[in-house]
Amino acid sequence: MKNLLFFSMIFINSFSNISKCDFNKLPILSLNIVQKGSYIFPGEINCILVEAHLKNTSDSTIGFLVLSCSLYDSFVLDNDNFHILHNECSRNTSYPIKLEPHQEISIPLILQTNNSVLISSNTLKIGFIFIKDDIKINEPLLETINKCKLESDKLVWSKSFSVYHGSEPILLK
């Protein structure tokens, strides 16, 4: 009886592990980062505007879930010197997005760091958390996203890039 319980638990665990975050087996989405500019605020705060270009590289439509306002919640960075700036949100609800074959969307993200980091030049990668839109989840989407964030090998990662210093960062007073 104990054996049966043990193997049942293994089966359930295996099943739940592939249910939400396992995107690696379906490499149908690419993530390309385009840097748009960097901005220096007083107090040695730097902001870097980037566009995350998500492209459906397959020949079929794919659907995934994001939060309608805090889209940044679906992205992670591999470098702790940076974080993604949050913005004030109105209606922030689970929202299904459909990408037609080879369709691309761009999502603006503002990365924040301090001056010393920017000057010393850092490289980073940005990851996207793909949650299929037909997945059955009985918890807030943000909780599912946060769990998947911990499984970095199951995210869609951009190539590693050096932070663009821009021609000259714009000083905002």
Binding site: S70, H86, C89, S90, R91, N92, T93, E139, P140, L142
Partner: protein
């Protein structure tokens, strides 16, 4: 420094036992709500499995049941806090349901949420409504919000359920919800029936109904 652990401890201290019904729901006005609770099991922000008693509000006059699907605060990181709010509707009296919501931040002037320009005053657009029907077939209507803001922001929401009957949309009932955040800890406000909605909310509801009834 903001700490998830500290937040979780403070939250548990403040909300343990979770959601005493006497504080989360207040009967008011003509007592049109009957209150009961439904236990559900969820994981808290530390991954610990806890039992929540979710209040189910029965709107007896119109044979509509409002089910509070989720209602709790969370720490969003980087000096941010927020909360989960999700509401389900059961009832066949109306053929369709939607919501009109206004938000007041730090006691400021209320504004439509989402802005009227997004969906002409209704909370769920057609795309979202179809998605909720597929995801929650047991509900006849559903909405959720995950507001986030910096520590120190208070958010107060007025939410009117609207239903379609005989080809016309009409207001069914209005609730209030929201949260406050003080010293790294956010706490939910009690859900109440709003018997005296703000003039802005009334205007937003009327504008939305007029638009969708054209």
């Amino acid at each position: 420094m903001f700490s998830h652990k500290e937040f979780a401890d403070a939250w548990q201290e403040r909300f343990d036992p979770y959601y005493e019904m006497s504080t989360i729901c207040q009967e008011s006005g003509g007592s049109t709500y009957q209150q009961k609770t439904v236990p559900i099991r969820l994981k808290d922000i530390n991954g610990k499995l806890v039992t929540f008693l979710i209040p189910a509000l029965e709107f007896s006059n119109a044979k509509i049941q409002l089910i509070l699907h989720d209602y709790r605060p969370f720490a969003a990181g980087y000096q941010q806090v927020g909360m989960y709010f999700a509401l389900g509707v059961k009832g066949s009296y109306y053929s369709e349901y939607n919501f009109v919501q206004t938000v007041s931040i730090n006691n400021g002037k209320p504004s439509c949420d989402p802005p009227v320009s997004v969906n002409d005053g209704f909370y769920n657009d057609k795309y979202l409504t179809e998605y909720w029907h597929k995801k929650f077939p047991n509900y006849d209507g559903y909405m959720e919000d995950t507001p986030q803001a910096g520590i120190g922001f208070d958010k107060f929401y007025e939410l009117t359920l609207v239903g379609k009957v005989g080809g016309k949309w009409e207001a069914v009932t209005t609730l209030t919800w929201g949260y406050t955040s003080v010293n790294d800890v956010s706490s939910v406000l009690p859900i109440t029936q709003d018997i005296n909605p703000s003039p802005t909310h009334i205007k937003d509801v009327n504008d939305a109904l007029n638009f969708y009834n054209q």
